[in-house]
């Protein structure tokens, strides 16, 4: 595999990103291309071993991600599994995904990145990442570099042959984990089919089976679906993100499924808690719950200040 250009020092990039400095467009292009090469060799189902700290949706909340490292330990001292939705909504999607790309390149066996529904060209055009890239770099080139790289992110991870991890949830077309392995994932997330279901579906604790959404697309999955999937695949637990919860996490179906949410005070106005899930050597799970980082308030610009306590007075009509 060809290396990065000699002029790019990953440790220096990581240092700069921890300070929230942007990398040059040419550097973004190089690290995204390099990561694509690396990810191309990853299976759609990556097997890893505990201990590992599992992180849910971050959505560009850069300071809260730094808080996670302060709480859970920095790379490579702590192994991390990120469940997707790195971008959109928050103010610092570029910094967030830049740092994660560099960490994954630098510590490929200690950092794992799963694809979320926001790691997509279509969704990032609607929910902020495209606009942020254009504003911070003056054009959309880095958005193209990042979203091209998103096509290579894996769809699922299995911890200790025991815990199945995915961004959204289960699919009616997937009974066995082996069926995930044959998906052609190197593409934009489609609207339908198993790849879409894995990043989009939600559990419905009121139901037993798969249920169609009233929106005319998408599924929810119920208690029996989860039970059967775990039995067939000899797993004990499903770990996913994708759904905002005020408590920062939610455990359903008699401890068979957990939702991890890692963006505290989501969109700088929801007032919710966040969590990361630590899986120890023995495979036991512990939620580590945290609040929004104090730096958020200092770095918020006037346009978004109104979303929180410091409301900007407005002569609306």
């Amino acid at each position: 595999m060809p290396g990065l250009p000699a002029s790019i020092d990953l440790d220096e990039c990581i240092e700069r990103l921890y300070k929230k400095e942007l990398l040059a467009e040419s550097v973004i292009e190089a690290v995204c291309n390099k990561l694509k090469e690396q990810l191309m060799h990853e299976s759609n189902v990556v097997h890893i071993l505990a201990p590992v700290t599992v992180v849910g949706d971050i959505h560009g909340q850069f300071f809260d991600m730094l808080e996670i490292f302060k709480i859970g330990g920095f790379c490579p001292d702590t192994n991390y599994l990120f469940l997707g939705d790195y971008v959109d909504r928050g103010l610092f999607s570029v910094e967030t995904i830049s740092l994660l790309v560099c960490l994954k390149l630098r510590y490929p066996s200690r950092v794992h990145l799963i694809r979320g529904n926001h790691e997509s060209r279509g969704v990032t055009q609607s929910y902020g990442f495209y606009t942020e890239c254009s504003r911070k770099y003056g054009n959309a080139n880095v958005w193209h570099h990042f979203t091209d790289m998103f096509d290579y992110l894996t769809l699922s991870v299995v911890i200790n042959d025991d815990i199945f991890c995915v961004h959204g949830g289960l699919s009616p077309s997937i009974h066995s984990i082996d069926q995930i392995k044959i998906i052609d994932r190197f593409r934009e997330i489609p609207h339908e089919g198993p790849m879409a279901d894995l990043v989009w579906s939600d559990p419905d604790p009121e139901r037993d089976e798969f249920t169609l959404s009233p929106r005319g697309a998408g599924y929810t999955f119920g208690a029996q679906v989860v039970k059967k999937f775990l039995e067939v695949n000899k797993q004990s637990h499903i770990l996913r993100a994708h759904q905002l919860c005020q408590e920062g996490y939610q455990v359903l179906y008699d401890d068979r499924l957990s939702t991890v949410w890692s963006a505290p005070n989501y969109c700088y106005r929801c007032g919710n808690m966040a969590s990361v899930l630590e899986v120890n050597d023995a495979g036991e799970r512990f939620f580590n719950v945290f609040e929004a980082a104090p730096e958020n308030a200092e770095h918020r610009d006037a346009a978004t200040a109104q979303q929180d306590k410091g409301v900007v007075v407005e002569y609306f009509l």
């Binding site: 077309s173 609207h191 089919g193 169609l212 009233p214 929106r215 697309a217 929810t220 408590e247 002569y315």
Partner: protein, 270 residues
């Protein structure tokens, strides 16, 4: 009405101000926790939006007469179409999705009981201690509201928001500003269902303190998504995504489909 007890451990970031006998209160709490969502789901009979600020509210009240108007999420959601009887919206790619689906999993026929998952509401606020009557001479004096009078209280309170599973945005929020002689409330429902429709439903409530004149104006606007996009064609391509997220940019592009105006004169003996 079902009420939800605000959790005592979290601080209310709302405000209170009284001007000329009119009390204005805003309440701002975190989104509902899972127990509150469960209670709300069973009280409403539909799943609430993903960001549900069930403890937030804006209330304007006149102590001397007992007149009050209040805006909160529960009331607004309670009038959302809960059966799909008014015609269900579908996401833009629904037909394609249904066709593909039938090939792989035709055995799944179980659909969640239909309801208006766009959370479109015609709610105009809960009035108590008085009555607003539809009137042809009711109007909000916008020229007075354009004056740069000091603003004694301003707040912006989100009641609910939903990303419609990445198909757009539905949001209900309330802004209020109180000046020395008058106040204005704007409750806005904004829906952008990508590839399908854009809606803005504004309820404005105006009070002139000296006369006790209270006017409520409801303006519903709606347009096909593609028609809105066409009207934005003169903007640079890179600006369009953020314009499509901003109801203030879109409101003038949407034709008005319904307007109602009501008024009341609130005095000591109202």
């Amino acid at each position: 009405m079902t009420s939800f007890v605000a959790p005592t451990t979290v601080r209310d970031a709302g405000k209170i101000h009284t001007q000329s006998g009119w009390k204005v209160e805003t309440h701002k709490y975190p989104i509902c926790n899972s127990a509150e969502i469960e209670a709300m789901t069973s009280a409403l009979g539909i799943t609430p939006p993903e960001m549900i600020f069930g403890n937030n509210s804006v209330r304007v009240s006149h102590a001397a007469s007992g007149f009050a108007i209040e805006f909160n999420a529960f009331d607004a959601l309670d009038v959302v179409d809960k059966t799909g009887a008014q015609g269900m919206l579908k996401v833009a790619y629904s037909d394609e999705w249904q066709r593909m689906r039938e090939k792989v999993s035709e055995e799944i026929r179980d659909v969640v009981r239909p309801f208006d998952w766009s959370y479109s509401t015609e709610w105009k606020g809960r009035v108590s201690g008085g009555e607003l009557k539809e009137s042809s001479d009711a109007s909000i004096p916008y020229e007075k509201l354009r004056r740069p009078d000091p603003i004694l209280l301003f707040d912006d309170v989100v009641l609910y928001e939903d990303e419609l599973a990445d198909n757009g945005i539905a949001m209900l929020s309330v802004k209020i500003r109180v000046m020395p002689e008058r106040l204005l409330v704007l409750q806005r429902f904004f829906l952008r269902l990508d590839g399908v429709v854009v809606r803005i439903r504004d309820t404005r409530c105006f009070v002139e303190f000296a006369t006790g004149e209270c006017v409520r104006e409801y303006v519903s606007r709606e347009s096909k998504y593609e028609d809105v996009k066409k009207k934005l064609a003169m903007y640079p391509q890179d600006d369009i995504p953020s314009l499509m997220r901003d109801p203030n940019e879109l409101v003038e592009l949407l034709p008005i489909i319904e307007t109602t105006r009501e008024k009341a004169t609130i005095t000591m003996n109202a």
